[in-house]
Every structure is written in C-alpha cells, then in structure tokens.
Amino acid sequence: MSDAALSAAPAARRPMRFRETRRMAATYSRSISAMLGLALVVLFLATAAFGPMVAPFPEDAVGAVNFEAKLLPPSAEHPFGTDQVGNDIFSRVLFGARTTLQIGLTVTGIAILIGVPLGLIAGMTGGWVAETIMRVTDIFLSIPGLILAIAIVGALGPGILNAMVALSLVWWPGYVRLVQAKTLSLRNEVYVDAARALGAGPFRILFVHVLPNCLSPIVVKASMDMGMAILGAASLGFLGLGAQPPFPEWGAMIAQGRSYLPDWWWCAFFPGLAIYLTVLGFNLMGDGLRDVLDPRQR
C-alpha cells in the first residue's frame, strides 16, 4: 500500500469503485505467475508493435537470400543465428510477432463474434432454436479442433488467410457453451425477475442485464484462447498448411528449421521459444484474470 493511500485515513469516503479496482489490481499483482504472464504478453505486444522497426535485417523477413551468411550460429550480429538461406532469425522472429498477433486476434475475435450471439440466443430462448444451436455446437466440439481445421484448410488450400478462417470456424463452439451456460443461470437471477416486473422486454434483459454480467468469463476465456489460437496457427504452419515460406511465421519457421536439427538447432529453437513464451504468457495472464474477475470458477 502506498503512503498516499495510508494518509487518506477515512477510507470509506474515497470512491469505492476505485477501491474495488485497486483491490483487483492488488490481487492480480500479488500472484507472481500472473505478473509473469502480463510481462510476457506486454513483451509480445511491444514486439508486434515495434519489432519490424528495430529489426536489424528487415529485408530478411520477406525472403532475401544471402547464402554467404547461411546457418551461422548465434552471435552479436545475429543474436539468434541465421537460417539455411542466410536470413537473420532474430529479425524474422520480430516480424513474426505481428503475424502471430494478427492470427490470435482474428481467430479469437471471429470466434467471439460467432459464439457469443449464438450462446445468448440459445440461453435466452430455449425450445427448438436453442436445441439446434446446442446440438450443432456439440457436433463441432466432438471433432478434434485441429483435425477439423486441417480438413478445412485442405479444402480451401494452404495459406495464412485460409488458416485463420479454418481456425475461426473451429473455435466458436467453446464460446457458445460458455455463454449459454452463463445466460441460463443469469436468466433466473432475481434482478432479472425484478426487471421483468418493471416492464423490461427480452432485448433489454439481454443487453442490459445478461450480457454485461457475462463479460468477465468471456474476457478470461479470450485471454487463454489467444495463446491456444497462436499455437493452432503455428501447428498449421508447421504442417505446411498455414503461412508459406519465406513468410515469417513462427510455425512455418520451425517446420523449415526442423530439417537442420540437431546441428543447427537455433533455426527451430528460437521461433519455438517465441511461441512457447507467448502461449505461456497468455495462459498465465488468463489464470490471473480468472482469479480476479471470476473467483468462483477456480
């Protein structure tokens, strides 16, 4: 607690809302793992934002060829070493962050845009509409997501855009489940009854009373899903179904570097480390957010 907070002795007089935010921030910051997650996510976002500007060899990211410098081990000039065509891996990892962020945001965003409305409809209406939505959701959930995504990319043809489309299409059912369950319980809250007694119609109940109270679990799930979507995209890239070389995508970089293991380990190691830290960061942050926003879900 800061000195300023201590000197404000009549604590009750301070606006309680800020106290609540402060309490949440304090709860979050008390967890070492949550703070580590936040740090990793901030590092990742900063890399995505400024990485391309500070990359030492920007032309390497788009597929320049420099065979004289191929497969150099990590050094001062090339901190992560160079790959089989002499590209600076550090620069490519920095560029890759932006691609990865794009993938994560797009996939999670589309999944939310599809899943949340469907979940709200299923939770609020009941009857055959809800039944249909939930059974379709069940079908999607019963097929392993990545396999379905591979099938979709197989149909659409490989490429980073198609990979994102495929992942988005397999990602939304989780949100339907989450939001439907939450809506079902919120629909029976006493304050919803009170609103109905005051004359609130179904849309008002949905948007004023139900949706705002669903937001915390959605935020928590979205944070965790960012990591999972990134991992999914990297997997597709690794299988050659996502981004195509020389496009700087971490999964595709590992796929290429794989053939040079174990002697030229840095080709696969550093993109892998980037994926690992990013996914770990989002997961730790999601865990921390859940403890703060949704303590009962532990």
Partner: protein, 324 residues
C-alpha cells in the same frame, strides 16, 4: 384491488409428475389493505406473489391486479400492469444488477414506463432514494458497496418509482438483521399511512412480522389456504390445527416461552412437510394433523368453513375446535 380466484399453478416435471405449487387459492385484497401470506417452504406462497405480477403463468383460475386480468394477458396489458403492481424480493443483494449503480437500477422502471429523461429523471431518482432514507451519496454506488438494509431500501425505491396500486412483498426482511428489519418494517408501516390506497400482499414465514404489519392473514399449507381472517382473530383464536401448530412453533423472544405461550396445549407437529409433487389426498394436512380422523380427512377435501366474522378455516372440524 388484488383478487385471486381458484388459482392453480402447476409445474410439470421432466419425470412426468406435476408439482402442484398452488392448488385452488381464492383470496381477495381490498384497496388499502395489507394481507399477510404465511406458510412454510413448499406452501406456494412465493409462487402466488410472482404469478400476481405475471412473472409465472397460471395454469387455471383468475388473477386480477389493479383492475387488469393477469392470466392470459397480452403484452400490452402486462405493460400497463407494470405501473400498477410491483414486487420486492427477499434477497436485496440478488435483486440488484451488480453492474448497475443504484440510481441506474431505480431509474429502470421510469425509463421503461415514463418519458422522464436526463435531468428530470435524475432528480426523480434522487427524490425516490431520499424518501427511503438513502441520501445523495448513494446515487452512484454499486450494490456491493451497500449494506443489506440499504440495498433493500433501494429495491423499495425502485418498486415505488411507478406509484403502484398493488405491492407484493416477498419476504422483504428475511435476509436482514433484526435491527435492520425493524428499520424496514417501520418504513413500510409509515408507507401504509402515507399511501392509504396502496394494497400490499406481504409474504412471510415470520409470524411476528406479519402480526406487526398486516391487517389480515392467510395461512397456506401445500398450495392451499387453510385459514384466513383478521390478524388478531387468527393469532388469538386460530381454528385450523395447522395454524395452531405454526403459532406454537413460532419462537417468541421471551424467557421460557413455553410456559408463557398463549396456548401451551397447541400440539407440536411430528414428521415432515410432504412434497408438493405427491400431495396427500383429502386434506393435505391430515398426515401430520393431531385431530385427523380416518375415513374423513384422508378422503374429503375440506371446504372453507366460516368460523367468525371474515374468518374462514378449511378444516372438517374447524367449528368443533374450541375457541380460545
């Protein structure tokens, strides 16, 4: 003002069985009256409260609230009903949206039913909250920043915002501490004096609170009214064995209540309340009743017997049970 006529509310279960939450209830509340609805869990008292506002559909029978037919009402009628009948729930914490400020919650009814907006709306909300004893600093607080009593005051302000003619109070003080309960009860008593035309249905399991606030009382057991009459008459001269047991069980705040109780001879009940899924045939109370007779009580459903002025009891032996 509020009339229930042979009201039945049944909930079908997935197993095919039917919960008879309310099973033939007739009750009339005159304008300005406060009537207590007393019963234990499963008696259907809260179901009646919600049905009176159209929040739960009735299976059969009629409900008239503030001159509107509630059963089978159109959306437009129900909307008209909103400004005429309101409800206050037991748990003040659960009945306020946690993401809304107090003033926003209180304004909800006004936004939905009146053209008031902006400054005029804010002033009206502040006035309503001031009337229930919540000064201006509470306007922008969230529910979790208020105590239970303060939250219940906000709920009362929200219900009164539309000047209802009928007010349903569903155990409004059961979740509150004694000293806070006294504040709310005192406020409700003042409200009765301030708005003599408002009709209230006061649902409670607490007999002492009903005695304090109500003019008449109806005692429910398993979806039916077993006794109904003026409060003093029912409490001092109960004619249904269930009412007697309920009164005997009420924990009175005095030393050695059994010695000082009004009727030591009222029997304590044995056994549990049967489930409303399998209500016993005949008189629903006969399985626990100390005066039940085979061949009568387990076969015939007792009719309401007049046992005094405006005092009825649904027991075959209501007239034989001695007056106090």
């Amino acid at each position: 003002m509020l009339e229930l006529d042979d009201l039945r509310i049944h909930f079908p279960l997935a197993s095919g069985e039917v919960v008879k939450a309310v099973d033939g209830v007739t009750l009339k509340l005159a304008a300005g009256e406060t009537v207590g609805l007393v019963g234990e869990s499963g008696s259907g008292k809260s179901t009646i409260g919600k049905a009176a506002l159209g929040l739960i559909p009735a299976t059969s029978g009629a409900i008239r609230a503030g001159g509107e037919d509630v059963v089978g009402a159109s959306a437009a009628t129900l909307r008209r009903l909103r400004s005429r009948a309101q409800i206050i729930f037991q748990d003040p914490h659960a009945s306020l949206n946690p993401r809304m400020t107090i003033s926003r919650s209180v304004a909800e009814g006004l936004i939905l039913n009146t053209p008031l907006r902006g400054r005029a709306l804010r002033e009206r909300v502040a006035e309503l909250l001031a009337r229930v004893g919540l000064p201006e600093q509470f306007l922008n607080r969230f529910p979790h920043e208020l105590s239970g009593g303060q939250k219940q005051r906000a709920c009362i302000a929200r219900a009164l915002a539309l000047d209802p003619e009928v007010l349903v109070l569903d155990e409004p003080t059961s979740a509150l501490d004694v000293s806070v309960q006294a504040q709310i009860l005192t406020f409700l008593k003042e409200l009765q004096a301030a708005r003599p035309s408002m009709t209230s249905l006061f649902i409670s399991h607490n007999l002492a609170v009903v005695r304090f606030l109500c003019q008449r009382v109806a005692v429910m057991y398993l979806g039916r009214i077993v006794e109904e009459g003026p409060v003093a008459e029912v409490f001092e001269n109960p004619r249904h064995p269930y009412t007697r047991a309920l009164l005997a069980a009420a924990p009175a705040p005095e030393a050695n209540p059994r010695a000082k109780g009004p009727r030591v001879d009222y029997v304590e009940l044995t056994g549990d309340i049967p489930s409303p899924v399998n209500t016993p045939p005949g008189c629903a109370f006969h399985t626990r009743c100390p005066v039940a007779r085979k061949g009568i009580c387990d076969v015939d459903r007792p009719a309401d017997l007049d046992v005094g002025p405006r005092h009825r009891a649904a027991c075959h032996f209501a007239r034989d049970l001695e007056a106090a």
